[in-house]
């Protein structure tokens, strides 16, 4: 039976994410300490704020080992927004800060030519899939809500599952085996977002 462990660590919109699973009728548990991880079949890490604050909060609550164990055992993981960005090797927001290094790459400011576009990238934008992904099953015109100034630049293209156009192609989601990450906020993207969360819940536990 599927149980989504939603990490509550004071640096993510925990309640918005649980509200979505509650609406979908999918069972969830709150993860606040290391031993909570074993209660869950899938883990969702929401992330709001800065890369370094999010990493600090995870370290403070001693959650990093639990995350690694869950992921290394092959169980599905979904990082949202900064929760996705910390999968990287390191991030460049304010100071250089090490990430979880689970998907090789760097998080840096969204770059484009000239000064014609505003940052943060805020609002609804269309996502283009670059590879097969269970996350986008049963979805037409996948438009999601973005709010970020920094983006993930994975080292290997095969880890990118979709992009969004904002000046240039910005990574919208990443995927590596059982690890999924989305730059946008599915819990805030109405119907498409709820569908994506349902699809994630249906990822098989290895």
């Amino acid at each position: 039976m599927v149980v989504i462990g939603v990490v509550n660590y004071g640096a993510g919109n925990f309640s918005s994410v649980v509200n979505a699973f509650q609406y979908l009728g999918i069972r969830y548990v709150e993860i606040t300490k290391s031993m909570d991880f074993k209660e869950a079949t899938h883990i969702v890490l929401p992330g709001v704020g800065t890369f370094s604050k999010v990493m600090d909060r995870l370290k403070c609550l001693d959650l990093i080992n639990g995350l690694y164990c869950h992921i290394n055992s092959g169980k599905p993981f979904l990082g949202i927004c900064v929760g996705m960005q910390i999968l990287a090797s390191f991030g460049m927001e304010f100071n250089r800060c090490s990430g979880l290094n689970l998907i090789e790459g760097v998080v840096d400011k969204i770059g484009f030519e000239g000064n014609s576009l505003r940052l943060p990238h805020i609002g609804w934008n269309e996502v283009q899939q670059t590879r097969e992904s269970i996350l986008y099953k049963n979805m037409q015109s996948p438009i999601f809500y973005f709010v970020h100034s920094f983006a993930f630049y994975p080292t290997y293209n095969e880890h990118i599952s979709s992009t969004v156009f904002y000046g240039s192609a910005v990574v919208a989601s990443v995927e590596k085996n059982n690890i999924f990450g989305v730059q946008f906020h599915p819990e805030k993207s109405q119907h498409n977002g709820l569908q994506l969360l349902r699809n994630f819940a249906e990822v098989d536990i290895c």
Binding site: N13, G49, K53, P120, S149, H191
Partner: protein, 272 residues
């Protein structure tokens, strides 16, 4: 391409949804939670929820409203966020980092700051460093004086500052604001349209997204806000309460005009 946004604003005064005119006359409209449900079903792009209570008195003591009496804005916010699967910006009476944290924890995606940064501009940096710039919307209330000059006001439009909207907008951007909500006090509730030159001057003064507000009376005013005003998003409070399906109708008008908005979809969609 990034879409333009249509954003209803809900004003909450002491536990009730209200409409306002010139920031002075307030008429009660009803229950804060049921209104969110309606706006959510009509496919609004975002929702801004402003607490304009002058004191922390939220308990309605009216059982005819058929909801539990709520003792704090945070509790009201928790109820709202259970029904809101679109971005939620919460503003009003935010004075400390803890106020911000409590709202984000209770379900807010962004917070809207107005008077506190005018008294303490460093508060913007503090919040941006702690929560990220993308969480911080600075709301600027501007009044056009008889002379034509524009002035920023604080404390719900009661106290003038010596700042112009464009200089304050540039300042808040420098300090780490993620977005600006620019509101015309004199246009508020009059249905005569946005103060387009105010919107345009602020949009041109900054490189962060600008949300226009204040004065919408018909759907054409939203279109003007995008085209002439140059806003990234158009917001309104009063107009969406007057008729059923109003957000859907406004969206349809804008989409059919050829503007880059999400196509409005009717009704609750099934998740497979």
């Amino acid at each position: 391409m990034l879409k333009k946004r249509l954003i209803p604003i809900v004003l909450l005064k002491n536990g009730l949804v209200v409409q306002s005119k010139g920031f002075k006359r307030y008429q009660a409209l009803g229950n804060p939670v049921t209104i969110v449900q309606r706006l959510s079903d009509w496919a609004a792009d975002e929702l801004i929820y402003l607490d304009i209570s002058s004191e922390a008195r939220y308990d309605l003591k009216r059982d005819d409203l058929k909801v539990n009496n709520r003792h704090s804005f945070i509790e009201i916010l928790q109820d709202i966020s259970k029904k809101c699967f679109m971005p939620l910006t919460i503003g009003g009476l935010i004075r400390t980092k803890e106020d911000v944290r409590a709202r984000i924890y209770a379900g807010a995606d962004k917070v809207c700051l107005n008077s506190k940064p005018l008294d303490d501009p460093g508060f913007i940096e503090t919040c941006a460093k702690e929560f990220g710039s993308q969480c911080i919307v600075i709301s600027i209330d501007a009044m056009r004086l008889d002379s034509g000059k524009l002035l920023v006001f604080k404390y719900g439009g009661k106290t003038p500052t010596s700042l112009s909207p464009t200089s304050w907008a540039a300042e808040v951007e420098k300090r780490g604001a993620g977005e600006i909500l620019i509101n015309s006090i004199d246009r508020d509730g009059r249905g005569q349209g946005y103060d387009l030159s105010l919107i345009q001057s602020v949009a041109q003064a900054v490189n962060i997204p600008v949300i226009a507000c204040g004065g919408v009376g018909n759907w054409g005013h939203f279109k003007e806000g995008i085209i002439e005003g140059g806003a990234d998003a158009v917001a309104a409070a009063n107009i969406f309460h007057y008729s059923e399906n109003s957000v859907y109708n406004a969206k349809s008008y804008l989409y059919d005009s050829g503007l880059n908005f999400r196509k409005p979809l009717w009704g609750k969609l099934e998740v497979i």
